[in-house]
């Protein structure tokens, strides 16, 4: 190929191939490389030995990548990069040397060793969670007796944040759920003339199941996620280490006040939820079934006994503790940055709800048996 011919071709296009020689022209930069790569696909390159870079005006890492791709396509045959301009030569020198091999992908075949490792890992998690739970219980009880381990007023603040501030949302949602539940039940019961039994059903449903469950789910979303992200962030920003360095136990100073607040707040919120849910039942009963409010309340309370009230509070309490332990553990596991804090928060919510449902199954079996 003569220079004249080269010149004419280059004037029209960036790629010109002739036998074992390829002439590239213009800019080999990230904006031009996609188009040039498309052109190169139409050119036979099997016998390529020389790439003429004398007309390349600019080269960046995308261009270097493209040239490396050309060389890799020759399966080990030598490729000469000829006559680069000073700028191109400088860029080639910058990226000189053997190209870095991509890191091998992680093997996907599962071996017995992997399974044993996983079992050991899960056992480690459970052990860590167990130890942390023990520490939280110990320091919370100790803080009740000797309240000097945390800031003055911290428990009250946590009661307000976790409990008092949650009252509107717990009450609203419980009322709505109570109305929905009562409406669905009323329609079915009316078909068999069982309208008056709506009070029995609502009493049992709200006190035994819906009250504590609804409260636990709301607390998980409001406080569990907040605790996990707070502890996770404190890990990332060295705040927990700073407390330790000051001779202050983070579990005692940060977590124990929250645990004490949870212990007080969750049974009370569960009672509130059950009570407001029943009010929803009263509304449906008086408007759709025609049963007077007093009669509904008398009947609902009549079917419930002291054990039900105790279960309601115990359930609320255990659900609260489960949320607390899970959220703290997830927060404590954060080691990286903001992404891990987000992941820990999600993990705390999902694991807490899982733990709550699991506990609920145990409670239901307890009732039945």
């Amino acid at each position: 190929m003569s220079d004249d011919r080269d010149g004419r071709l280059i004037a029209r296009q960036s790629v010109c191939a002739d036998g074992d020689r390829l002439v590239l022209a213009g800019e080999l930069t990230r904006t031009r490389v996609p188009a040039i790569s498309r052109e190169l696909r139409r050119v036979p390159l099997a016998s390529l030995r020389v790439v003429d870079l004398s007309r390349v005006t600019r080269l960046d890492s995308a261009g270097i990548g493209m040239l490396e791709g050309l060389r890799d396509g020759l399966f080990g045959k030598p490729l000469e990069l000829r006559d680069p301009t000073p700028h191109v030569a400088e860029m080639l020198e910058l990226f000189a040397g053997e190209p870095v091999e991509p890191a091998p992908e992680e093997r996907t075949r599962v071996t017995v060793r992997d399974i044993l490792e996983t079992i050991r890992y899960v056992a480690g998690i459970l052990m860590d969670a167990f130890i942390l739970s023990g520490e939280i219980f110990y320091w919370s009880v100790r803080n009740v007796v000797f309240p000097s381990g945390h800031r003055k007023g911290e428990v009250t603040e946590q009661i307000i944040v976790t409990g008092l501030n949650a009252v509107p949302i717990v009450a609203t949602l419980s009322f709505i759920i109570g109305v929905i539940l009562a409406l669905q039940a009323a329609v079915q019961l009316e078909r068999f003339g069982g309208g008056p039994f709506l009070a029995d059903l609502m009493g049992l449903a709200m006190v035994r199941e819906m009250g504590p469950l609804l409260t636990a789910i709301i607390i998980t979303g409001r406080s569990g996620s907040a605790i996990a992200s707070e502890i996770g962030t404190m890990r990332v920003t060295d705040e927990l280490d700073a407390l330790r360095a000051m001779g202050i136990r983070p579990v005692e100073y940060v977590i124990a006040p929250k645990m004490i607040a949870f212990t007080i707040v969750t049974p009370l919120l569960s009672i509130l939820s059950a009570a407001v849910g029943l009010l929803g039942g009263v509304l449906v009963s008086t408007t759709f079934v025609g049963q007077p409010a007093q009669s509904f309340i008398d009947r609902a309370l009549g079917i419930l006994g002291v054990p039900d009230a105790a279960f309601l509070m115990l359930k609320g309490l255990l659900f609260g503790w489960a949320i607390m332990m899970t959220s703290c553990y997830c927060g404590y596991q954060v080691t990286g940055g903001a992404v891990e804090v987000g992941r820990a928060t999600t993990q705390a919510v999902v694991s807490s709800i899982f733990a709550i449902v699991l506990l609920n199954v145990i409670f239901s079996l307890w009732y039945v048996l």
Partner: protein, 262 residues
């Protein structure tokens, strides 16, 4: 006997691992009482790991850490809790509790380790803020302060209990040269006026030259030099020589018209 009283902290044969990776290899070092010792070295050489081991925020694999005349390398957490009020630590980013005001942050160690009345604690807080030249910020939240102010506020908290030994982890990291220099000046003043033993982890050559009485140099987890900065400048150890030479070199790319370095 005299040597013992002159030494505030002594580390012997300290080894530390992250998982299977050995980060510190048999580190031996002494830190003089009332002096500023800089722990220097390139990034990733184990400076912060050494600091965290000494503070027992990480448990060492083996070796001894003699602090206040006793080996603390195997103390239980309960014993450490009693020991730590005598130590101050300024973390790299300050590590102020974000949920508390600056004043509340400084009062945390005072409330936890003393039975002082609230008004005395308040006065101490104001004095400590004055000491670090940060008046009038006690009601600010940490997020409302600049990076340099946050570090000063954290330093005020570090000094709240009048510690005998203070550790600084990269104090000038992320600060502009002027703020970094003023923090260096503060460290020197505190050490001289209060007689505090200061241990500073840094790789900032300017800071090292300004503040260091003595220097410990780490290279790939090994202590390769211990002495004064003047001795370090003429130290024949490759990594130390390279550290000082690189820090003193001309800006890259400044060349004479003939292509030779100016």
């Amino acid at each position: 006997m005299r040597e013992h009283s002159e030494v505030a902290l002594r580390v012997r044969g300290l080894r530390s691992h992250y998982g299977d990776v050995e980060v510190l290899h048999e580190v031996d070092a002494t830190f003089a009482r009332g002096k500023i010792t800089v722990v220097a070295g390139r990034s990733g050489c184990g400076k912060t790991t050494l600091l965290r081991n000494i503070l027992r925020l990480i448990d060492p694999t083996s070796g001894t850490i003699e602090l206040f005349g006793r080996d603390i390398s195997e103390l239980e957490e309960d014993e450490l809790v009693n020991l730590r009020p005598r130590i101050g630590v300024l973390f790299q980013n300050g590590a102020l509790l974000q949920s508390l005001t600056v004043g509340a942050n400084i009062s945390v160690p005072l409330e936890q380790h003393t039975r002082l009345p609230a008004d005395v604690i308040e006065r101490i807080v104001l004095r400590k803020l004055q000491l670090v030249e940060l008046n009038g910020v006690e009601h600010f939240m940490p997020s409302e302060l600049s990076g340099g102010m946050r570090k000063r506020a954290a330093l005020a908290r570090t000094l709240a209990l009048d510690p005998e030994i203070v550790f600084f982890d990269e104090p000038s990291a992320g600060l502009d040269p002027v703020t970094a220099a003023s923090l260096d000046r503060l460290i020197v003043e505190l050490s001289r006026k209060l007689g505090i033993t200061v241990i500073v982890v840094t790789h900032e050559l300017t800071s090292i030259r300004h503040i260091a009485d003595r220097m410990l140099f780490l290279d790939a987890g090994r202590a390769v030099f211990e002495g004064t900065v003047e001795e370090a400048e003429v130290c024949p150890v490759d990594s130390v020589r390279q550290f000082f030479r690189q820090g003193s070199s001309e800006p890259l790319g400044r060349r004479s018209p003939g292509g030779q370095p100016m």
